[in-house]
């Protein structure tokens, strides 16, 4: 079963073609990576997946639904972590988790989510007083408090220290074990290699290649994902 199907997606802002014919599918239960340089169309694609933007052309299906038309219904089954979004400065960690939990039909127990993500000691701390890593961890926990079937994480571990990164990887691994579909947008090759079943390499508004890390390396005749990426990224420059 396919959890996500994107076919020939196109989106322009004025004269800029942000996404220029992206096609890929994500299977249910899979952890799927999206890698690419800034401006490759990753974030715009993600925003079309979660219904924040309407595509100019092409089709997007998430859990069989069109996110642009059925955003709210789909939102109950979707967990999202956005790049550099935030919360009101004075809201406390526990309050934010409880409030987000109240938005969803089949929410998880927010106290358990707080425990799981090591946020218990910060429960009474205001968002504005958290460190960058702590904020990131809270935003991740908020993405999961609704008990989602599909999780979309844009820039998963940016701003986290190495220990927090490993810990986050472990928790993403738990999601996979639980059968959750994960879409992971990242700049880090080690992260993609450690977590993702398959990866799409984005360049110039397209998914230039999709496959397992091994397939991409074999196809490009290189030795690592990073080299494979550079080969694909620079392919027709």
């Amino acid at each position: 079963m396919e959890a996500i199907e994107v076919t020939d997606l196109r989106k322009s802002y004025g004269d800029t073609r942000a996404v220029d014919g992206v096609t890929f599918t994500v299977r249910a239960g899979e952890t799927f990576g999206i890698i690419g340089h800034n401006g490759a169309g990753k974030t715009t694609t993600v925003e079309c997946l979660i219904g924040l933007r309407r595509a100019d052309a092409g089709t997007v299906r998430v859990l069989g639904e069109d996110p642009a038309r059925r955003r709210r219904a789909l939102a109950h089954r979707l967990g999202v972590q956005l790049q550099d979004s935030s919360l009101p400065e004075r809201i406390k960690v526990a309050e934010a988790l409880r409030m987000f939990g109240s938005f969803y039909r089949d929410a998880a127990d927010w106290r358990r989510v707080m425990e799981r993500w090591g946020l218990r000691p910060l429960a009474r701390k205001a968002f504005g007083d958290l460190s960058g890593g702590q904020k990131q961890r809270l935003m991740l926990a908020l993405a999961l408090v609704g008990n989602p079937e599909v999780v979309v994480l844009d820039e998963l571990t940016t701003g986290l220290d190495p220990i927090a990164r490993r810990e986050t990887w472990r928790l993403i691994g738990d999601l996979k074990t639980a059968g959750t579909t994960v879409v992971l947008v990242s700049h880090y090759f080690d992260e993609i290699e450690a977590l993702c079943d398959r990866v799409a390499v984005f360049a110039r508004g397209r998914a230039e290649a999709t496959g397992t890390t091994g397939e991409l390396i074999a196809r490009t005749g290189t030795a690592s994902l990073e080299e494979a990426y550079l080969a694909l990224e620079g392919a027709d420059r």
Binding site: L78, D84, S85, S86, P88, R90, I91, E95, F100, M139
Partner: protein, 229 residues
């Protein structure tokens, strides 16, 4: 409904943690009352002022900062509708203003021995309409001005002349003729009138209709101009 209640409760809690809102919506009107030696004639104007401070003084900057810091965008990825968020903001502002107003009225009666308002129901109705109208005007400011500092500043620039020229802070009788004429065209003026009439027990429906009309017009303009990011 559960989500809306949670959102509104959170917004109210955030307001109660904001020292500026607490001061201007609760302490400041009480201070003015003490300076006036408990003159109950000034109280209806102060009620309009409380509503204006919340809706025009605080709300535009708050909404603009939610937009600028991508709080709105994050919430837009959850099952709540963006309109629900604006609704929660409105209810929280009105409730906070109502709390400050009730305290002011109680102190006026209990401490300074003023007579109770002539028509409590009409007074409550006039306050609610006044408060919603102030929020609707604040919403228009947040829709037109994009960044946080600009929205706060413009909100203040709209609010201050209005509370002085509409009779909220000082009686209009005390103003020179030309300034009084400007007041005739300000949306807060019918609000002060409606509150004053209800206080003295001679409530009329007409000023309330004007307020309702302004609410409809401002909400329509705000909704047409507002951008989520």
């Amino acid at each position: 409904m559960k989500a809306f209640t949670a959102l509104t409760a959170a917004e109210l809690r955030l307001l109660s943690r904001d020292p500026a809102s607490l001061f201007f919506m609760v302490a400041f009107p009480l201070m003015l009352l003490v300076l006036k030696r408990g003159d109950s004639g000034a109280v209806p104007g102060y009620l309009a002022m409380i509503a204006a401070i919340g809706g025009m003084g605080a709300l535009p900057g708050l909404l603009a900062s939610y937009r600028e810091r991508k709080v709105l965008k994050r919430l837009a990825t959850t099952p709540i509708s963006p309109v629900m968020l604006l609704g929660a903001q409105l209810v929280a502002q009105v409730a906070a203003g109502l709390a400050g107003s009730v305290l002011l009225v109680v102190v006026t009666i209990a401490v300074f021995g003023a007579q109770a308002p002539g028509d409590v129901l009409m007074l409550a109705a006039a306050f609610l309409l006044c408060s919603v109208m102030a929020c609707a005007l604040g919403f228009v400011v947040a829709a037109v001005v994009r960044n946080t500092r600009g929205a706060s500043l413009i909100g203040m620039l709209v609010m201050f002349p209005m509370i002085f020229l509409s009779g909220a802070a000082v009686p209009r009788k005390a103003l020179p003729g030309s300034l009084r004429q400007i007041g005739d065209f300000l949306p807060l003026t019918p609000a002060v009138e409606a509150l004053g009439d209800a206080w003295s027990g001679t409530a009329a429906v007409f000023p309330l209709l004007i307020l309702a009309g302004i609410i409809v017009a401002a909400t329509a303009a705000g909704a047409a101009l507002f951008r989520w990011e």
